[in-house]
Amino acid sequence: MPASRFTQTGNYRVRYQQDQTIFATYAEQASLIVGVLLLLALPLLIPKTMLRDVDMIMIFAVAVLGLNVTTGYTGLINIGQAAFMGVGAYATALAATRLNLPFFLAIPLGGLAGALVGTFVGLPSLRLKYLYLAVATLAFQIIFEWTVGHSPVLAQGGAISMPTVQIFGVRDTFLNHNMFWYYIILPVLVAMALLWRNVLRTRHGRAMIAVRDNDRAAAAMGINPGTAKLTAFMIGSFYAGIAGGLFAYFQKAVVIEDYGLHTSVQLLAMAIVGGLGSLPGSFLGPMFIVALDRFMGSASAWLGEQDIFPQGIDVATALRPLAFGLAIMLFLMFEPRGLANWWRLVRMYFKKWPYKF
């Protein structure tokens, strides 16, 4: 048995409880350990500016995990995830600046605030479906931005500076900022991903899928569709809130522009490019979109320096939106299951290794 456990290819699980394990083979467990070590060493291996992008990717991944609960699993299209992030960010900022809470309390508070508002915004989902709900979340996004802009306590959308923090005697400074937060965001992300996995493989997760696929049948199964949708909204916006709290500290200030419609669209794009409803997709999507943006940024900077295009025609500035839009469309058209599917194929390959089939 041990040998076959190493290179297990088929499904040899004989008890239902075995069906529940996440990392079953030694190979998988070994790669897990290597992976963890690599992750811990990462900040030492890559350049500093890239580390900043890694941090951003991880924060976005938290928000995308949440989006994958509402939109990916429950089918409630949410074009306002950035606003929920914003709620978390502002709550965290108020907690940190007004109540002087330390960050490890302020950020969870942001999560709770996100969850609270999310549940409230989710209320229309009790009556609305699909498209209509998408429009409702869009409206929430706009109302949120407007409200912040009119709230003096929130600096009317202007910057609320975050205090610098320290933990175990290590201070967050300009120079170690990205690394400091890396070691905070990483465990948070891992924990959030585990919780996500757990919820979604249990009755609560299944209820969400049921509601997405067929809410009438779900009701006939004894699932309260309203509760399921609200739970989804609550969880999804809790994740957003946590991401917002992290982002507040990471950005050192909370400004409304960070939580605008554009960000919501980006989060959706990340979820889709990664593969809706997929755990690896929740990391791959943000990775891809951030990398694409960086790449296009450098490409346009480079293009801007070449005088190949006529004046007034700004190829450089066109690149980012073009690439972003095309990426979304191409994925949807040719790989609707997203990067997660590529990931799956790669994994399959290694699982079967050394056999070819």
């Binding site: 009556r127 609305l128 429009v135 802009g149 073009l322 972003f324």
Partner: protein, 298 residues
């Protein structure tokens, strides 16, 4: 002078443009159940094409016409290249395709000289003269022409959908594509036509808007969002709804600017008021004033 009638008149003027913008939206939704987030960008495309043509010396009216033809073809092209592949895909994917499309079109507009900056049409001679005063509000000829053009197009489309076989077929396709195909409907052609017609009306909206309040990419594309309250209020799949919804949102928005802005520090309530209406409508009457109620039986 009384404020109220003036607010109403101004609301109707702006509302008719909302209605025209919403029309294109409704056309697409009606036939293919696609929510088009790129509509604002198509409006901008139409407006900038017309503007570019006038810049190169073409007569304004001709430029407008050519722009409408161009966006008609653009709509067809978009359907052909992108949307056709998405038939049968989940709704969120289709929505995201239009979101991606909006980004792509914006990128493309940045490849022209119009991506950044503000521009305005030189008012054509026929519209340059004195306007008229309606209920104490001065309306320019441009505004009046805009309202008339919008209403004309809207009336035409209403007739089309209710009386012509093609119009009925477009609605049929929205209901059940397979069944429509079984009687020989080319669903592809119906979709292409819907997108084309949407493109045409978008250019009309863009040109009128450009004439009235100038051209900026952001402003024109922004109409794409303003349209949501309109279509939700009117009913996502109703041409009449687009008209009534557009007018109502225009008027309500103006009333809020006229009466609420003074009460709210900073004002700007017109920016958010339509979206509050939107939420209210969704809660009270999700299918809007004229939208078709989903028939849902188990």
């Amino acid at each position: 002078m009384d404020l109220l009638p003036q607010l109403l008149i101004a609301g109707v003027v702006i509302g008719s443009i909302y209605a025209l913008a919403a029309l294109g939206f409704v056309l697409i939704y009606k036939s293919s159940r696609v929510i088009n987030f790129a509509h604002g960008q198509i409006i901008a495309t139409g407006a900038f094409i017309a503007f570019a043509l006038t810049q190169s010396g073409l007569n304004f009216w001709l430029a407008g016409l050519i722009a409408m033809i161009a966006t008609f073809l653009l709509g067809m092209l978009i359907e052909r290249v992108f949307l056709r592949r998405m038939v049968g895909e989940p709704i969120i994917s289709v929505i995201m395709v239009t979101i991606g499309l909006s980004s792509v079109i914006e990128g493309l507009i940045h490849l022209t000289p119009y991506g950044a900056g503000n521009f305005s049409f030189t008012t054509p001679a026929a519209l340059a003269g004195d306007g008229v005063s309606v209920l104490g509000t001065q309306l320019s000829r441009t505004q009046i022409a805009g309202v008339l053009a919008a209403l004309g197009l809207l009336a035409g489309f209403t007739y089309f959908f209710n009386k012509s076989t093609l119009g009925i077929t477009m609605r049929a396709v929205a209901d059940d594509q397979m069944a429509a195909m079984s009687v020989g409907t080319s669903v592809e052609r119906v979709f292409a036509l819907a997108w084309a017609a949407a493109g045409l009306s978008a250019a009309a909206a863009g040109v009128i808007l450009g004439l009235m309040s100038g051209l900026t990419l952001g402003g024109l594309a922004g109409i794409g969002l303003k349209v949501f309250p309109v279509v939700i209020l009117g009913g996502l799949d109703s041409v009449i709804g687009a008209i009534v919804g557009g007018m109502l949102i225009g008027v309500l928005e103006n009333l809020s600017a006229g009466y609420l802005d003074g009460l709210v520090p900073g004002g700007g309530t017109r920016e958010v008021f339509p979206f509050i209406i939107l939420i209210a409508v969704l809660l009270l009457r999700p299918y809007g004033l004229f939208g078709t109620r989903e028939i849902e039986r188990v």
